[in-house]
Symmetry: C5
Subunit: 320 residues, 5 copies
C-alpha cells in the first residue's frame, strides 16, 4: 500500500491522494510511505522517483545494517524498528530530500502512524518540512526501544537483588536468554547510534542549528540505550559468575556430608563385618565382654573421626 501526505504551497494539508498528483500540483513538501508494498509498487522507486540502484537494492534485500548514504538531492537512511514481542529488527528505509520524505518497509511499522497523527494535528507541525518529519520518525523509532530495554534491565536487577539470599526462585536459563536478547539488541542499537553520530558530525548533511538540537536529543537516547545494554550484559556475566561460585560452594558442602557419613560408617561397618565372619576359631567372640569391647571400640573410632572433621572445621555445615 502507498500512503501519501503533502503540504501544498498555500500550507494546506492533503492526504492519501494518488501519487501522480505530485507531478501536477506544487507541494511545499510531501511524504510517501511504501507500507508493505507489492512488487508493482517497488518498481515506482525506480520509475517514478529515480532513486539510485544501490539504494533500491538495499530496500529490497531484507535487514541491511543501519546507515546513511549521501546522494545528489537526497540522503538515504536505513534504520531498524524493533518488534517488541520477538525483538526482531525490522528494516525501515527512508529517503529524505529538501522537499520530500519517502519511507519503505516490508513489515508494518506502528511508529509511522504516530508520526502521521502528530503531523496532521496542527499546521505548526506540518509546516516544518521534511527534516522535521524525518526527526519525528527517528524519535518515535528510538523511543520504542526503551520499554524493551527497560523490561530486561528491571528483570535483571530484580534477579541480582534477590539472588544472594535465595537461589531457588530464579533460573539461569532466564538470565542466559536475556543475555542473548541483549546481544541481539546491541546489533540494532550500536549501528543506530553510529548513524545519528554521523548525521550530527557530517559536513555533507548540513543541519540548521535548531535541527541539530533535535537530532542531538535522539543521540542522547541512543548513547544511554547503548550504555544500558552494555552494562546489563556485564550484569548477566556477574550473575552467572555468582551462580557458579554458589554452585561450587554448594557442591563442596554436599560432598562434605557424603564424605563425613561415609568416612565414619564405612570403617565401622568393616569392623562389624569382621566379627560377622564365621571362622570356627575367633577368640574374641568367646570373650564374655567381647561384644561390649567391640561396641566401645566402634564408638571410639566414630568419635575420633568426628573429632578430626570438627578439627578441620567441617562440622559447621550442619548448623547452617
Amino acid at each position: 500500500m502507498i500512503r501519501t501526505f503533502g503540504v501544498t504551497a498555500d500550507s494546506q494539508l492533503e492526504m492519501d491522494f494518488p501519487l501522480e498528483d505530485l507531478n501536477k500540483k506544487p507541494f511545499d513538501w510531501y511524504w510517501v510511505d511504501f507500507d508493505q508494498p507489492t512488487p508493482e509498487e517497488w518498481a515506482l522507486l525506480d520509475s517514478f522517483f529515480h532513486f539510485h540502484p544501490l539504494t533500491i537494492e538495499d530496500c529490497l534485500d531484507r535487514l541491511q545494517r543501519p546507515k546513511v548514504d549521501y546522494y545528489d538531492g537526497y540522503q538515504f537512511f536505513v534504520v531498524h524498528a524493533l518488534n517488541a514481542q520477538t525483538l526482531e529488527a525490522e528494516e525501515l528505509d527512508i529517503f529524505v530530500g529538501k522537499n520530500f520524505v519517502v519511507t519503505f518497509h516490508h513489515s508494518s511499522v506502528d511508529e509511522l502512524d504516530l508520526v502521521r497523527k502528530k503531523l496532521q494535528r496542527d499546521a505548526s507541525f506540518w509546516e516544518r518540512g521534511s527534516v522535521y518529519a524525518m526527526y519525528q520518525i527517528l524519535d518515535k523509532v528510538v523511543d520504542s526501544y526503551f520499554p524493551i530495554v527497560h523490561k530486561i534491565e528491571d528483570h535483571l536487577n530484580e534477579i541480582d537483588d534477590k539472588m544472594s539470599f535465595d537461589m531457588k526462585h530464579f533460573s539461569m536459563d532466564t538470565v542466559f536468554n536475556m543475555r542473548s536478547d541483549l546481544l541481539w539488541l546491541r546489533r540494532t542499537i550500536l549501528p543506530m547510534s553510529d548513524l545519528i553520530y554521523r548525521v550530527l558530525n557530517s559536513s555533507r548533511f548540513d543541519l540548521q542549528k535548531h535541527e541539530y538540537t533535535y537530532f542531538a536529543d535522539i543521540s542522547d537516547h541512543l548513547v544511554k540505550l547503548a550504555e544500558i545494554v552494555e552494562s546489563n550484559r556485564e550484569l548477566t556475566a556477574d550473575i552467572r559468575d555468582s551462580y557458579m561460585a554458589m554452585n561450587s560452594n554448594r557442591m563442596n558442602r554436599i560432598m562434605m556430608i557424603l564424605t563425613i557419613v561415609s568416612s565414619i560408617f564405612i570403617p565401622l561397618t568393616f569392623v562389624a563385618g569382621v566379627y560377622g565372619m564365621n571362622f570356627k576359631n575367633m577368640p574374641e567372640l568367646e570373650m564374655k565382654n567381647g561384644y561390649f569391647f567391640a561396641l566401645g571400640a566402634m564408638i571410639l573410632i566414630g568419635l575420633s573421626m568426628l573429632a578430626w572433621f570438627k578439627h578441620k572445621g567441617w562440622m559447621s555445615l550442619f548448623k547452617q
Copy 2:
C-alpha cells in the same frame, strides 16, 4: 519549593525573595533552585524562563544521562548526585547563563545547601558570579562520590588481604554485591567524567583561564574515581577467581579423603562379607588359624592401598 539567591548591582546579597523580583530589580547574577518542585512550579521553566522544550522534557523525565547541551544564552547540564545509602543516582539539572544559574531536582540534594552556605559566607565568594557557583555545585556533587567509592575500595582491599589464609570469614555474596554496586557507580562516574572533559575542551563554553583551572580540578577527581571503580571491578573478579581456585582445591581434597577411606575399607568389607557367608562347605572357616590368616590378608590389602596412595602423594593432605 523555589529558593532564590541574588547579588544586586551594588554587591548586596538577597535571598528567598519572590521570583518576580528578578524582573523588577537589576541583579548582577542570581540563582533559582527548584527543590522538589510542584507541577505548578515546573511550568515556570517555560513561562518565566523560556527554556528550550527539549531541556524541560529532560528535567521532567527522570534520570537522564549526565551531559551538557549548548543553547543561545545558556548551557544546560544534567548531573548525577549519588544517594549514599541506596547508591541511587539522583538527577540534578542546571541551566547556566552569563548572569544566572537555575537548578532543578526531584529529590533533595544536600550538596546544594553546602554551596549556598559557602557562597553566603563572604562577599568575596558571592561576587564571583554564575560560573563560580556552577563550579561549586559540581565540586560538591563530585566530592560526595568519594566516601561511597572509598568505602567499597577499603572493604575489598580488606577481603583481598585476608582471603589467602582464612576463607571462612567473608562471603562471596558481599563481593558480588560490591561488584554490582561498582557497575552501577560506573554508570554515573563515566558520563560525569565525559561531561567535564567536554566542558574543558569545547570551544563553545569559553572558560576564563582561572575558571579552567577549577574545572580541571574536578576532572582530576573524576578520572581518579573512574580508575578506582575500574580497578576495583578487576579486583572483585580476581577475588572471585581466587575463591573458585581455592574451592576447586578444597573439593579435590574432600574427594581424596572419601576415595582413600572408601578404597581401603570397601574391599576389606567385601573380604569380611565373603567369610560371613553361610555355605556349609567353606574349608577356610574350619582351619585353625583361618581367622588370623584372614585378618593378616586384610591388613596387607589395607596397607598396600595406603602405600599406593602415599606413592601418589595423597597422604600429605592429612598433615595439613
Copy 3:
C-alpha cells in the same frame, strides 16, 4: 592458464587473444587473468608487465594479508576469496591501472567467471573500464562470504534457542568448531574491511563520485559481516557458559542423589552389621522383640535422615 579480455578503441569486446596483441592493437582497457599459472607464466609479471619486485614476491608467496599498495601507474591489491567447503582463504592478487586489470591466483576463483560473464553481457558494462571491473571482482568475492557466515549464524541461533529446554540434542563440539571457524573467518574479513576503508579514504586512490558509491556498498557488507562474526563469537561464548552452568547444576543434582542414598543406607547397614556379629554374649539378640526394636530403630534413623534432607530442600530434586 592466461585469459585475456579487452575492449578496443572502437568499443568492441575481444576475448582470449594472445598476450602479445596488447602491444599491437590499441585497447581502451584490458583484463589479463593468471589462472593457476605455470612458473613460465609467472615470469610474465616481470618481463611483460614490469611490476615491482615486491608485488611479484607477494603474488608468489602464498596467503599474504589483504592489503592495498600504491605504485606509479597502478595499485596492487591482495584480497581473499573463501573456499565454502574448507573455509580456507584463497589469495587473489589484483593490479589495477588506468586502462588495465591484471589478476593472479594459485587456486581457481569462481567469482572471476561471474564477473567475466556479467561484463560480456552488454556493452554498457564492458565500456565502464578497469575500476568498474575491479569493483565487480571485489563485490562478487565479498558476496560469496555471506552464505558461509549466515550458515554458521543460523546454526548457532538454532542451538541457542533450543538449548534451554533440551541439552541432549546438540554437542558442545559443534559449537567449539563453529567458534574456531569464526576466528578463522575473522582473519579474512577484518583485513578486507580495512582494505576497503583505506580505498575509500585514501587521497592516493582518487575515485570518481559514482565509483565511491560502489565501493561504499562493499564496505557496508564487510562491516555487517564483521559485526555478525564478532556477535556470533560472543554467542558461542555465551552458549559455552550456559552449558557449563547447566553441567554444574546437573552435577550438583547427581551428587545430591548419591549423598541422600548413601547417607540413609550406610548407617543402617552398619546397624544391621552390628547385629550380624557372632559374639557369644549379645543380650539384644536374645530379647523376644529385639528384631522388631532394631527394625524400628532403623526406620527411625532412616526417616530422620530423610527429614533432615527435606528440611535442607534437597528432596525437590526427585520431583523434577
Copy 4:
C-alpha cells in the same frame, strides 16, 4: 624539615641555608625540599611561595593521581614514588619554575637524596638548572620501579616454567597476591606514563631539544614497565587457568578411582551379603560346591566390571 639547595649567580653551590636567603641573594636557580613538613612549614607554600590554592590542596590531601598542571610561572607535578616493601604509592609534589624547584612529600623519599648527591658532585651538573633537576628526580623515581616489577616478573616466570611438571611446589595464593600487586602497581605506572606523555607533547611545557631527549628516555622506561605489568597480569590469568585445568583433570582421576573401586566391590559385597543371610531354607548353601560357585561368580562379575572400565580407557590412570 625544609632543605635548601641553591646555585648563585657566580655558579657557587650553597646548601641548607635559611629560606629567607632566597629573597636576599641573587640565585641562578634553587631547590627547596619540604621533607615530611610540619603544619607550620605547610603554610609557607602559600605565604612564602604564593602557589595556587588548588595546588596546595593537592599537596595536603594524600595520594592525588599523578598529573601535571600548568600555572603562570610554574608547572605543578604530582608523581608517585613506590615503597619497595609495601608497594604503597607515596605522593611527591613538585613545583617547577624557570629558576626554581620546590618538592613536597609527607613520607621520606630516598630518591631525592640520590638526586641531591648527583647534583652536588660537579658544577657541570648543578649548572644545568631547574628542568635538569626535575628530570633527575623523575628518572630516579621511575628507576626505582624496576626492581619491584622485575621481582614479580621473575617469580611468575619461574612458577610458569615449573608448573607443568610439578604442581606441588607453589601455591596459587602467591600467584593471586602477585596479581593483586600488579593491579596496584598499574595504578601508579599508567598515570605516570600519561603524565610524561603529556609533558613531551604539550605545547605549554616548551622543552629544549636536549631536554626532550631526556624526558623521552623516562617515557621509554614507563612504556616498558606498563607492558611488563600488563603482560604479567595476563600471565597470572594463564597460570590460574592452567591450574584450574589441572585441578579439573585431577578431580576426574580421583573420581575415576573411587568409581572403579566402588563399582567392583559394592556389587560383590551385595552377593556376599545375600549368602550371609540366615534364612532357614537357602538351597545354595547346602550345595557341596556352593561356596566355590559363589566365589567363581564373584570373580566373574569383578572381571567383567574391570573389562568394561578397561574398554572405556579408564585403566590407564593406574599406570601414570
Copy 5:
C-alpha cells in the same frame, strides 16, 4: 669483535679494515658491526663515534624495548632478534646516518651475516647506501620470526582439529606452554610493529618513495605476525575452554556411573544385612519361601531404581 664494511668513493667494496681507516679514506658509506664487543670496544661508541650518552646507556643495558630515537645526524634503533630455540629476544642496536650504519649486539645475530653476504654479492646492492642496508637488516630479522610463529600456529591448529574426537593424545600442558610463548612473542612483535609504523609515518625520518615501499613491506609482515599471535592466543583460550567443557561432561558421566551403582546396590546390601542379623526371633527367617521372597523383593527394588534412572535418561551413558 668489530667488523667493518665500506664502499669507497669509487664504488669499491672494502671489508674488515681497521676502524681508523674511516678517518683516512673517503667512504661513500660504511657499516661497522660491534659483534659481542669487549668493554674496550664499547668505549669506541663514545670516543670514536661520539654517540649520545642515552643511546650508549641503551646499548649497554640489556633488553631495551624496540624503539627509534632521532638525534642530529643519525637515528638510533633498538630491535629484537628472536632466538629460535629459547624464544628469547636478543637486542640489536642500530645507528643509521646518511653515510653509515653502526650495529651493536651482545649475542651473535645470524641475520647480520645474511645481510653482509647479500650486500657483497653485487655492486648493484652495495651501492644502494646505508638506508638500504638498514632495510635488509630489519627484513632479515623480521623474516626470522615467521618460522617460530608458524610452528606454534601449525601445532595449535593440529590440536584444535583433532581434539573433538580424541582427547587423549594431547596435553593441556603443551597448549598452556604455547600460550605462554605467544605472550612472550607478542612482547617483541607489537613494539617492532610500532617502531616500523613510526618510521613510515614520521616526518623526521624522510624516506625516499622507493625506500618507503621497502619499509611498508616489513610493516605488512609485522601486522600479519601480530594478527597470527593474537588469533592464536584466542585459539589457545578456546581450546582450554573446550577442554574444560569436555572435562566437566566427563566428570558428570563418571559420577552418574558411581551414583547408579551405589544407589542400586547399597539399599540391597542393607536388605541382605537385615536378614543376616542374628536375632533369635526373626519370623521371616523361618518361612519356607522367605529366602525367595527376599530375593524377589531385592530384584524388584533394583529394577525400580534402574527404571527411575532410565526415566531420567541416565542409562544412555552405558551405550556410548
